[in-house]
């Protein structure tokens, strides 16, 4: 292990492309810090896939690692085959909310159902940031965006709850003000088996914050902090009272046979029977 942590040790010699104040700097750094604290001095035990969107850019090409940068919404199917064929590697998917639970939603649900042995980290900025701030499936009710100029008339999707319902082995949600909790969660998730999902509510000051009326990044972070309630607190609340709150914490940790375990057990059995 290198003496002190530096994200540069795990990155190509390129500058991250994100806007000033973007939460993805923190997400990228926190992930690498978790990797460092687990004792990995490089990313040679990891294979990354990602889709299209700002969060998807974190591993590709910035991580000094094997990264497969796929199409919009399509990071999970290649991650599935890569994990099946390279079962000894940690396969980690980075994607935004539009990528993972918008266009790619069905892959997300089916990967959880199969208990596919991958870790999906979703940066949820509640908007399509890269394309300029259009409404997303995660945009808060009534929030103005470029395609909902009078406020969103749709209800947002709760990706964490959905992952639990679909059969995920581990689900957690944090925000960019819960950096330590997030780091510990990533460390734990890397070491668990099966389908693991961490949602990171992250600020997009450029395409979301300024349109919904936040003065600056600080105000957005304050909103995350003051608006977050724990999973436990949410359990005791009525649905209408918790609407609009950010529920943070661990939603589930469950052990059941994973896709890799099932497929390799089948291979062994079929080959034995000839």
């Amino acid at each position: 292990m290198a003496e002190t942590f530096s994200s540069r040790n795990y990155m190509r010699d390129l500058r991250l492309p994100f806007c000033p104040g973007c939460g993805l700097y923190a997400l990228s750094d926190t992930f690498l810090r978790a990797v460092y604290e687990l004792g990995y001095k490089d990313l040679s035990n990891f294979i990354f896939t990602s889709g299209i969107g700002c969060t998807s850019w974190i591993p590709s090409p910035y991580f000094k690692a094997d990264s497969v940068h796929t199409l919009h919404g399509r990071s999970i199917p290649p991650a599935t085959s890569i994990k099946l064929l390279k079962p000894n590697f940690h396969v980690v998917v980075f994607g935004g909310d539009g990528d993972i639970v918008g266009i790619g939603l069905s892959h997300f649900i089916h990967a959880a159902r199969r208990n596919t042995d991958i870790l999906v980290i979703m940066g949820n900025n509640m908007v399509y940031g890269m394309t300029g701030g259009q409404v997303a499936p995660t945009t808060p009710y009534k929030a103005p965006t470029t395609t909902t100029p009078y406020g969103s008339f749709e209800h947002p999707l709760d990706a964490a709850k959905l992952a639990v319902a679909a059969g995920a082995a581990y689900v957690a949600r944090w925000t960019t003000v819960h950096i330590n909790e997030l780091k510990e969660s990533i460390k734990k998730a890397i070491q668990l088996q099966g389908f693991r999902f961490i949602e990171v509510v992250t600020q997009c000051p450029t395409a979301f914050g300024r349109r919904v009326g936040f003065k600056d990044v600080g105000e957005m972070l304050k909103w995350f902090k003051e608006n977050s309630i724990t999973v436990k607190q949410a359990e005791g609340m009525r649905e209408e009272d918790s609407e609009g709150k950010i529920v943070v914490g661990e939603f589930i940790e469950m052990r059941r046979p994973t896709l890799v375990e099932n497929v390799y057990a089948l291979l062994k059995e079929v080959q034995k029977s000839g």
Binding site: D66, P77, A79, S81, I82, L84, F89, V263
Partner: protein, 385 residues
């Protein structure tokens, strides 16, 4: 739940089998080294998935039925980047859904095989009936500039041979290769003679040396690392340089990379494009055909020659890249060229473009999977008399 133990398992060896086209496709893929298959149910390609699900685990391969065609082709691409030969099979509607990812495959130079068992379209069309309407989709189905390799078998024997060839071309040129077949060949049962396995040529992709850094965009085909080998390979279908690093702002990088991935196909047309020819340099009437339709052409040509009409035939085993040279040769002697196909005219326009000195005549039939008969082709040949 009782699990049916499927006993159907023949080890391919050098003998004669009685196979369905879809079954020959599976056995050929396994001989070629395919060890990963992902697919989604669709008629008339289902038998390929079903046979694969039985056969692959027996040879240590992995079969996955995915949630849709987009996931299937995505999983195939991921498998290929693990160094594993991979394939999917589908029909028109599923082929349409796969197009974006097939484009990703061209741009990232990912070898894989896509079998399209053509059915009547567009839309849901006639799901269980043969057609040849995907000639242009196989060539131009995804957006942007690329060169596709598309093979077209006309018998079960050739389904076996061309599926192996598809894998070989995919590996050699690092590109998706399409096997464009149809419901008729896929469901036909015929004898297939398997040559001694050691005599079948199997090509594997070129792997990089430890010190190699360039993995993309070479006209003579860059070596391909796998993920997990320590090369830190960045794979992206965004415009990237030879090292794989994204460069979306520079027009020069894009031009350079696209020129390379197109030239690796274009400059090797003579090697890639296979045709079967009959009497091309000494005929009055010529025929250009492919796939199931060509089976009727053989009989029509024989009947025409019995009537002392010199008839030439070019049968395309490779539709794309288009074998212009042989069509030009045919056009030099044939006054009329007939292009029979089970669509409203697709290959016809390509033949017309190349054989501009001859009169090119379409002969089309769509719907119900009904083939164009030898009599109809003969009648078209005789029209010139």
């Amino acid at each position: 739940m009782p699990i049916r133990n499927e006993k159907r398992c023949h080890k391919v060896s050098s003998k004669t089998f009685f196979w369905q086209g879809n079954e020959a496709c599976v056995e050929a893929a396994i001989v070629a080294g395919c060890r990963f298959f992902a697919g989604y149910p669709i008629s008339p390609a289902n038998e390929i998935s079903e046979y694969m699900a039985v056969r692959l685990p027996k040879v240590g391969g992995i079969f996955m039925q995915m949630e849709d065609e987009i996931a299937s082709i995505g999983a195939v691409m991921g498998a290929s980047w693990c160094g594993v030969k991979a394939m999917t099979a589908t029909s028109g509607p599923g082929f349409s859904l796969m197009q974006e990812t097939i484009g990703w495959g061209f741009m990232t130079e990912t070898p894989c095989v896509v079998v399209d068992v053509q059915r009547v379209g567009p839309g849901t069309g006639q799901a269980t009936k043969a057609a040849q309407g995907d000639v242009m989709q196989a060539r131009w189905g995804t957006h942007g500039d690329y060169s596709a390799i598309v093979l077209s078998p006309n018998s079960v024997q050739e389904m076996f041979e061309l599926t192996i060839r598809a894998f070989n071309l995919a590996e050699k040129y690092r590109t998706p290769v399409m096997v464009l077949t149809d419901e008729i060949i896929a469901h036909l049962r015929e004898q297939v003679a398997i040559p001694p396995l050691e005599k079948i040529e199997i090509i594997n992709r070129r792997k990089p040396n430890a010190e190699d850094k360039i993995f993309f965009g070479l006209e003579n085909v860059a070596p391909m690392p796998s993920v997990g080998e320590g090369f830190n390979v960045a794979v992206t279908a965004s415009t990237h340089d030879e090292y794989g690093v994204r460069f979306t702002a520079d027009p020069k990088v894009h031009r350079r990379m696209l020129e390379a991935i197109n030239n690796k196909i274009k400059k090797n047309v003579n090697e890639i494009a296979e045709v079967e020819t009959h009497n091309v340099d000494n005929c009055k009437v010529g025929i250009v055909s492919f796939g199931c339709t060509s089976r009727a052409v053989y009989e029509a040509v024989e009947a025409a020659e019995a009537k002392r009409i010199k008839t030439g035939h070019v049968r395309l085993k490779t539709i794309w890249p288009f074998p212009e040279k042989q069509i030009r040769l045919l056009a030099e002697s044939a006054e009329r060229i007939i292009v029979p196909e089970m669509n409203l005219g697709q290959l016809y326009y390509e033949v017309k473009r190349v054989a501009c000195s001859s009169e090119v005549v379409p002969l089309n039939r769509i719907g119900g999977g009904e083939m164009i008969t030898p009599e109809e082709i003969l009648a078209e040949i005789l029209k010139g008399e």
